[in-house]
């Protein structure tokens, strides 16, 4: 049996206490002191045990980082001296989109390499914005591909980055009548991308490259940041270049498999001269999804050029750039995907989406919306314990000392995260009855959308909806 693709994970303990969700409030003055029943001794999760340890070393106030919220200490304390509060620091990390919950779960996955599992039901709002306004679908009985936890290893998560021929043509003797370019593929629909802020020390970059290298994916990074000592990672690197300056990096371009050039009008000439530097190079064009651009149209134009992949960028929260009322990446991708189908070029070109991909489920959902794969940036640094506190933007020190991270450790964390993500992708593909992630692309039939469900199920009962649906 051929070796199947797996991502080997290995637990990597956090270097710093993760920002926990809860803090206890405890007025010791009312404490019975040496109470035999002390809930601190009896905590099922042994939280207080550790807490005493940092109490005596104490560099920071006593938060119960690992409180699992069972309320027993609060309900069983003989004097009722406990109360609880959401850790104020927890409230402050991340933002609206990269919520503390997202960060926490990412940390968990990077730590353990396992997928987040919990009991009880779903805890969130009925429906949310963006990705939270769609559900993926599964089928009940009659889909033989779905074997639960068994057989999942047969699901293929490969995607291509190289252009696909429109159709094959054969000569009379059966040999190929067209030139088939070499195929460049990555074993999972996730590429890495250098974050546009945060600590960018060599250690951080090497951690990412090392992880990408290990799991066989690639990483977009600024050509200017590719120092000589990163060259060993050559095939893993996709340098980002610009029309005006790419010639400065011709040596680098010659040594990599793939390169990305930023979209500018009249990009075609640059593409031709790129090919002159390295004729086998796979070319991606990076396109910012700006409100003032007809990006769907541009993509159609690009798809007709001699390029392989279009990499569309939304902002970190998955929103359109330069707009007062920015659209969300899932809707933008739908447009692009459909425009390419109309132009009959969708099959030939690959679309990589980036921006706002913060959880594994987003990968599947954006693929359903029409992307081939995604590029992620922030999850990489979050895996390395970044708290998105933004201190580095102000030139302050990093609370988790990212600049000096050991690349072996850093890559371990990223690999764990990717292992967990891939497992979740498989989980969903399995539930949907798909054997290949490529079959998911544009497959809106495997999804349900809030607006559709409301219309189908509720409109016949409640009539016309008066509150407009705001899921963008």
């Amino acid at each position: 049996m051929p070796q199947k693709y797996t991502i080997l994970t290995k637990a990597a303990l956090p270097r710093f206490y993760p920002v926990g969700k809860y803090a206890t409030i405890e007025f010791r003055e009312n404490c019975a002191g040496s109470c035999k029943e002390c809930v601190k001794k009896k905590c099922v999760y042994d939280i207080f045990k550790d807490n005493y340890l940092h109490m005596s070393k104490m560099e920071e106030p006593e938060y119960l980082y690992t409180c699992n919220s069972c309320f027993r200490c609060i309900q069983e304390c003989t004097k009722g001296i406990f109360s609880r509060v959401v850790n104020p620091e927890y409230r402050e990390i991340g933002d609206e989109y990269w919520t503390p919950d997202v960060l926490n779960r990412t940390w968990y996955q990077a730590h353990t390499g396992s997928i987040p599992v919990s009991g009880s039901g779903y805890r969130g709002p009925f429906v949310g914005k963006g990705f939270d306004s769609m559900w993926t679908d599964m089928s009940e009985i009659v889909r033989p591909t779905r074997d639960g936890i068994h057989g999942r290893e047969y699901i293929n998560t490969c995607i291509e980055l190289s252009r696909r021929p429109e159709r094959l043509a054969f000569k009379k003797d059966g040999s190929l009548a067209i030139v088939v370019k070499p195929i460049l593929e990555v074993p999972l629909p996730i590429l890495f991308q250098q974050p546009d802020f945060g600590v960018q020390s060599r250690e951080v970059l090497v951690s990412m490259l090392k992880a990408a290298n290990t799991i066989g994916t690639k990483m977009f990074m600024n050509a200017a940041d590719v120092y000589e000592d990163l060259i060993p990672f050559g095939p893993t690197i996709i340098p980002l270049i610009k029309k005006d300056t790419f010639k400065n990096y011709s040596e680098l371009i010659d040594r990599v498999d793939m390169v990305e050039i930023e979209y500018e009008p009249d990009i075609e000439k640059a593409i031709i001269s790129l090919k002159a530097i390295n004729k086998n190079i796979i070319i991606s064009v990076g396109l910012e999804l700006r409100a003032d651009l007809d990006y769907a149209g541009i993509c159609v134009d690009l798809s007709k050029m001699d390029i392989d992949t279009i990499h569309v960028y939304a902002n970190t929260n998955g929103r359109e750039f330069e707009s007062d009322n920015p659209r969300f990446i899932k809707d933008m991708l739908r447009d692009i995907h459909l425009a390419l189908i109309d132009a009959a070029t969708r099959q030939q070109i690959n679309i990589i989406a980036s921006g706002g991909i913060s959880m594994a489920e987003h990968v599947n959902k954006i693929i359903i919306c029409g992307a081939d794969g995604v590029a992620i940036d922030l999850p990489l640094i979050i895996a390395m314990e970044c708290r998105l506190c933004g201190r580095c933007k102000k030139g302050l020190t990093c609370p988790v000392d990212l600049e000096s991270i050991d690349p072996l450790y850093g890559s371990n964390r990223i690999i764990n995260l990717m292992g967990a993500w891939r497992n979740q992708i498989l989980e969903m593909l399995g539930a949907m009855g798909l054997r290949e992630v490529r079959r998911l692309r544009g497959e809106v039939g495997r999804s349900m959308w809030f607006e559709d469900l409301e219309r189908e199920s509720f409109a016949p009962i409640f009539g016309e909806r008066k509150v407009s649906i705001d899921v963008g």
Binding site: F71, S118, Y122, V127, W135, E140, V142, G430, I461, K466
Partner: protein, 514 residues
């Protein structure tokens, strides 16, 4: 309709298992207190207790406090305290409790109902969640004042029939429009599931084994225990099918549709392993599909097999809610199901990948009308009992689900909340449930006794029944069967004009830290 008086099971005060209860308000007594006992004299809710033979009052029983509304009464302890020793605050603990679907007040409300058997006297919003959609946006319309009936709760029929096919098998009737969802021996403490069975007997309803076998402790209540057959077939034996009134085929679970079950090795204790005929400590997977079922025909074979083993058993088919749930339902009916049980995606579970709970399949609110309508169109609606589950949290959710088209509901999470689950979600981490509910840990598993579970559940359902009776009465209905499919009695706030909407209680929508 004849005037039946229903024998209601007795409710009994069943206080919390825990020393400190959680209240919406906090009441503190400081050292100015001179133990005069004034507060305990005036408080009608038992917040302040000072037995005659005690020198000083007990710590305030905060969860009984009605809060600032008390100001307008003549028993507001804060003002009556001669020493200014009392303080009243909203309990900030509530900000750390619950979630969008089960906000803290709904949890506390259910605790109170399970304790007293009555609606809570504290101003808790226990009928509406904070999810901003689905049931939380639906309201029963303002009833026509003329239609209200003046009959007592006992005269209102809240029973539903489970067998409508007329196939000669028993017409199983349960006295409340819900029964207990599957919770397996192994995922949940034995005392909890046996307690549920005892409650089911008292309530004349049902509970379900889940996929964990049939502990002998169920036998005294066997008329009220459904045997579940799921893909792992754990613990399914001929005799368990022979003595059950209803057999449930589980094709999928709403919270993790498309995924199999997974019982962590740690939970597989000796007793669990014996029940499931497996090895101690090894993780147990239920595959997702039945490997013997690849078509509706295969499924029918399954059902026939079961009907053959037990000639009086009814058959329930539990499926989740994909887009084609309506087709699945009709297929199940034609394969011979008496009950079609659709399980929505927001329901509870012992353990599921977070990615599944949130993202796969549709919420039950959409699925009920979809299936109901399809069954009506196919002309078989009155031949089959449609049961909804997965995110049915309270009495009003049940009523709304029925009005949307279900016959009744299956309740899981609310049962656990009645025995003081706080939905912390750690059902399977470490030693299992810290509150002793979903655990087989030898120590934690002994935190609950059956009688407590039984009575708390009876209390909660009796409180729910009062709510159902109120709804039925105000809308001029005598039986909950008449409510089924009466979606005309429902409104959805998002489908109302601004002005119209103001007549109804607004939907709670506040931001929570999750």
């Amino acid at each position: 309709m004849n005037q039946i008086k229903y024998q209601l099971p007795e409710t009994r005060h069943t206080p919390s298992r825990f020393r400190n209860t959680i209240g919406k308000y906090i009441v503190k007594r400081n050292s100015n207190c001179i133990s005069c006992g004034k507060c305990s004299e005036i408080c009608p809710f038992g917040v302040h207790i000072k037995p005659d033979h005690h020198k000083s009052p007990f710590r305030p029983v905060e969860h009984n406090c009605i809060g600032f509304d008390c100001k307008n009464t003549d028993h507001y302890c804060i003002e009556h305290c001669p020493e200014d020793a009392l303080t009243l605050k909203e309990n900030p603990l509530l900000y750390t409790m619950g979630d969008y679907r089960w906000p803290p007040e709904m949890l506390l409300g259910h605790f109170a109902m399970a304790e007293t058997g009555k609606a809570p006297h504290v101003d808790l919003e226990y009928n509406l969640g904070n999810s901003g959609g689905g049931f939380d946006m639906m309201r029963f319309i303002e009833p026509d004042p003329g239609v209200e009936l003046t009959i007592s709760d006992e005269e209102i029929d809240t029973s539903i029939d489970l067998n409508k096919t007329g196939d000669g098998r028993p017409l199983k009737t349960i006295s409340i429009p819900c029964y207990g969802g599957g919770m397996s021996y192994g995922s949940t403490a034995l005392s909890v599931i046996v307690g549920r069975a005892r409650a089911a007997k008292r309530l004349n309803s049902l509970t379900c084994t889940g996929e964990g076998g049939y502990p002998p402790q169920f036998l005294p209540y066997k008329e009220h225990v459904i045997t579940q057959v799921a893909t792992g077939l754990f613990g399914v034996r001929e005799e368990t099918i022979q003595h059950c009134p209803i057999m449930e085929f589980k094709y999928a679970q709403g919270a993790k549709p498309g995924l199999g079950g997974h019982l962590l090795g740690e939970k597989v204790t000796k007793a669990v392993a014996k029940m499931r005929e497996t090895v101690v400590g090894s993780s147990l997977f239920s595959p997702f599909p039945f490997h013997s079922v690849y078509s509706v025909e295969d499924h029918k074979k399954h059902v026939d097999w079961m009907k053959e083993i037990n000639h009086s058993v009814l058959c329930s088919i539990k499926v989740s809610t994909p887009t084609d749930v309506d087709m699945v339902a009709i297929g199940a009916y034609y394969a011979g199901a008496h009950i079609i049980h659709i399980d929505g995606s927001y329901g509870g579970t012992g353990a599921a990948p977070d990615i599944a709970k949130k993202n796969i399949a549709m919420p039950i609110e959409y699925a009920i009308p979809k299936v109901h309508r399809f069954l009506v169109e196919e002309g078989v609606r009155d031949k089959v009992c449609l049961i909804a589950s997965g995110g049915i949290r309270n009495a009003l959710d049940v009523a709304k689900a029925i009005a949307l088209g279900a016959d009744g509901c299956v309740i899981g999470t609310a049962d656990l909340v009645a025995v003081e689950c706080v939905r912390c979600g750690n059902c399977e981490s470490g030693r299992g449930c810290a509150r002793g509910i979903a655990t087989t840990d030898p120590e934690l598993g002994c935190m609950i006794d059956e009688e407590y579970v039984e009575q708390r559940l009876v209390n909660m359902y009796m409180a729910w029944r009062k709510q159902w009776c109120d709804i039925l009465r105000t809308h001029g209905l005598k039986s909950i069967k008449e409510l089924r499919g009466r979606s005309d009695l429902l409104v959805h706030l998002d489908y109302l004009d601004e002005e119209e909407r103001r007549k109804y209680q607004p939907a709670p929508r506040y931001k929570m830290v999750l």
